[in-house]
Amino acid sequence: MARVRKDVWQLPAGDKTLFWYGEAIRELQTRSITDVTSWWSLAAMHGIDRQLWIDLGYLKANVALPFDPDAVGFWNQCQHGSWYFLPWHRAYLAAFEAILLDVIVKKGGPDDWALPYWNYDPTQPNTLKFPTAFAPELLDDGSRNPLWVKERYGRRGNGVISIRPADVAVSALWQEPEFFNEPQDLQTSFGGTRTAFSHGGGGTGLLEQQPHGPVHVLVGGTKEGTNPDISKNNGLMAMFETAGIDPIFWLHHSNIDRLWESWLTVRRHPSDPADAYKNPTDPDWLNEPAGQFVMPAPDGTTFTTTAAKVLNTKAPELNYEYQDISVPGQQQVLAARLGRLGVAATDAHNLAGAMTMAAQKSTELVGQSSAAIRLAASPTDAQVQLDAAATNKLSAKLTSMKSLAPTAAAAPPDRVYLVLENVTSTTDAGMFDVYVNLPKDANPAQHPENHAGVLSLFGARAASQAGGPHAGDGLTQTLDITDIVDAMHLSGQLGAQAVDIKFVPQTPISASSKIDVGRVRVYRQSR
C-alpha cells in the first residue's frame, strides 16, 4: 500500500502527521547546511541568496558553503517557467519526504508517514485559512513551534494570511487539455512551455501561474510599512531564494503536485486532441537531456532522476498517493458556452459532442496596448487597442455557432486570451487583480464577471535580470478571458475600438517599486 498524503484540513483529531513533521524539522534544522539532508540545504536546492539568508538569520556569515550559492547547480536548481516545473518539484518533494520519513522512523514514528497537503479549495472558504498548526510561535508546552516562521506577512503585511477564492481559482486548469505549449506559441498549457534546456525559462503553465504564484505571494507578503524592493522585508514564501525555509512551502507544493494528479483524471472532451489530459511522451521531457534532476538521499549521497521516473507516484521509489484527487464540478463547459452563444439548449449538447479539434492550432493577435504600463499602489488603467479586421473575424466566428447544424463536426469557438508580457519588477511580493471592461467608476469587487484573473509577481525579480534564464524579458501571464469576450460579443461591445484593462493592487506596493507590464495583448486561438 502506498503511503497517503493527507489533506491538512481533514486530519482527524489526535492525528500525529503534523507532530512528526515538526519533529523531523527540528532534527533537520540541527544539521549543518553542508549536509545535503539538512533543512537548510534542502531549502537551498530551491534557491539561496547568501546575503539574504545571513540578514534573516538563517545562515552564519562564517560558514563555508559546500556549493556556490550564486551558481545554478545542486543548489538553485528549482525549475520555473518551464515544462519541467511539475516533474522537478515532484522529484524534489519526494526526496524531501524520504529524508523526513527516515528521520521519523528513526525517532520511533510511523513508517507510513507522508507529507500532507494544503488544499486551498476555492469552493470551501474554510480551507483558504492558514492551517492552524503552522500559525502559533509557541506550542502548548512553551517550546518553539517548528512549523512556525516569523517571516509570513500575508496580504496586507500585518501577518494575517487571507486568501480569496479568486486568488486560487482552479477551474481554468480543468479546461486546458494540453500539458505543454511550443515556445513560439502562447503560454496557454497546463504544465508550461517546452524548453530545450532545463533553465530555458520559456514560460509558465497555468498551474504555475495560478494558484501556485498567488499562494507564494499571499503567504509571504511584505512586512507592513517597509519597502518590498528590499528582499529582507519580504516573507520567506514570496521569494525563490527563501521559500523552502518555510514549512508551509512543502504543503503548498504537495497540493500543486496533487492538482497535477487531478488534471490527469479530467474527462477528455471529443474535441480535445488525442493527448488531452495526458503527460508528454516526448523523450526530451521524460529524460531531461540537458541535465537530470539531482536529488539528495537520506544517507547523504545524491542521485539523479528524471520526469520519466516520477510519473507513477505509487511506484516503490515514490510510494505515495493523495487522499483525494477528485475534480469537483466537471460541467459540460463547452455545451454551456454554445448555449450562451445562441445555440438552442436542446442542440448545444449534441453540437458540443460532435465538435472536433481544428487541423492546426491557429493563434492570431487581436489587439495590443500601445506602451508599457507602470503599475502603482493605486489602481492603474490601461487600454488595449483592437484591430477591426481581427475583431470582425472573431465576432463572425462566435456568431456562426448558432447557425451550425447540431451534428456539424465544426471546430469549437475560439478562445480569447489576455497576455501580460514582459512583466518586470523590482519585487517578487506583489499581486494584482486584472479586470477587463469594468464599468466606469464601478467598484471592482462588485464585478466578478469582469475579473480576468490575477497577476502575481512571484519570480518576477529573477526574470527581470538580463543575465538570467529569461534574458531579462520578465514574466508572461496568460489570462483566459473567453467568457468576458463572449459577454462583450453578445452585448454588442466587441465592435469597440478598444478594451479597458484595470490593475488593482492586492498587496502594498511602494512608490519606489518599478513594476512594469511591457505589453498587454489580446489573442484569439482556435484549436
Binding site: 494540453e178 511550443e182 515556445p183 513560439q184 506559441d185 502562447l186 517546452r194 524548453t195 530545450a196 534546456f197 533553465h199 530555458g200 525559462g201 486532441p273 493527448d275 516526448d282 523523450p283 526530451d284 521524460l286 529524460n287 537531456p289 540537458a290 479539434m357 481544428a358 492546426q360 492550432k361 493563434t363 492570431e364 493577435l365 489587439g367 495590443q368 500601445s370 508599457a372 487597442q385 484591430d387 479586421a389 481581427a390 508580457e421 514582459n422 538580463a466 543575465g467 538570467g468 534564464p469 529569461h470 534574458a471 531579462g472 524579458d473 511591457g518 505589453r519 495583448r521 484549436r527
Partner: protein, 257 residues
Amino acid sequence: MSPRVPLPALLRQASPTLLLASLSCWVLLAAGSEELPSAALCSPSPNLVTAGAAFSTIYGVGATATVAALLWILMVAAMTAPQLAQPIAQLRLRSLAERRNRSTGLFVAAYLMVWIAVGPILLTAPNAVTVLAGATGLPAFAIAVVIAVLWQAAPLRQSVLNRCHRVPNLSAFGTAADRDCIRFGLTHGLLCAAICAPAMLLPLTAPAFHLALMFALSVALQLERLAPPRPPQWTWRVVPGQAVVPVLFRSIRWSMR
C-alpha cells in the same frame, strides 16, 4: 495543434524553410568555390570592389561591386538564415495576421542591411591581421584564433548573446509597427554581427579551408544560439555551441530508442 514528431526538442526549434534557404546558398557557394579555387570573397582582399573585380575577371561579368555584394549576401544568408527561425516566429506571433509577411520582410531587409554595411569592414580586417602577423612573426591564422577565442571567452560577448534571446517589443499598428520591425531587424543584425564577426576571421585568414571552416562555424554558431542565456562572465567555453552538443547527442539517442 502543431504536429508532434519525435525529434529532439533542440532540432524542432529550426525552421525547415530557412534551413532549405541556407542549404541552397551553401550549394551555390560550394559550386562557386569549385570553379574559383582562390575564392575571391574569402581571401583577404583590400576591399569589396577588388574582391568583385577578381570574381568578374574570371567570370567575365561586367558588374563588380554588385556581384561582390550579392556574393556577400549569399554567404550571409547561408550562414545566418537558420538562426533567424526564433526571432521570425516571435515576430509573427506579435504581428496582426494581415501584417505578418510585411513584418517579416521588413525585419529580414533591415537585418541584411546591417550585414551589407559591416561587410567591407569585415573583409578588410584580415589585412590588419596580416600586418599584425608581419609585425609579430606569427601566422595570421594563429592571430585570428587568439582574437576569436578571447572574444568567445569574454563576458561582453555573453551579454550580447543574452540580448538575442529577448523577445521583441513590437507595436501592432501602423507606421509604429513598421518602424519596430525595422528596428528589431537592425538590432538583431548588429547583435549577430558582434557575436559572429571575430570568429569569421578564421575562414578569412585560412583561404584554403575557407568554405569548410565557414560551414563548421555556422553550424557551431547555430547550436550556440539554442543554449539559454547565462550570467555574463569569463568562460572556458571557447568553442561556440560546445555546451549544446552533448545535450543534442543525448536527446537524439533517446529519440531513436
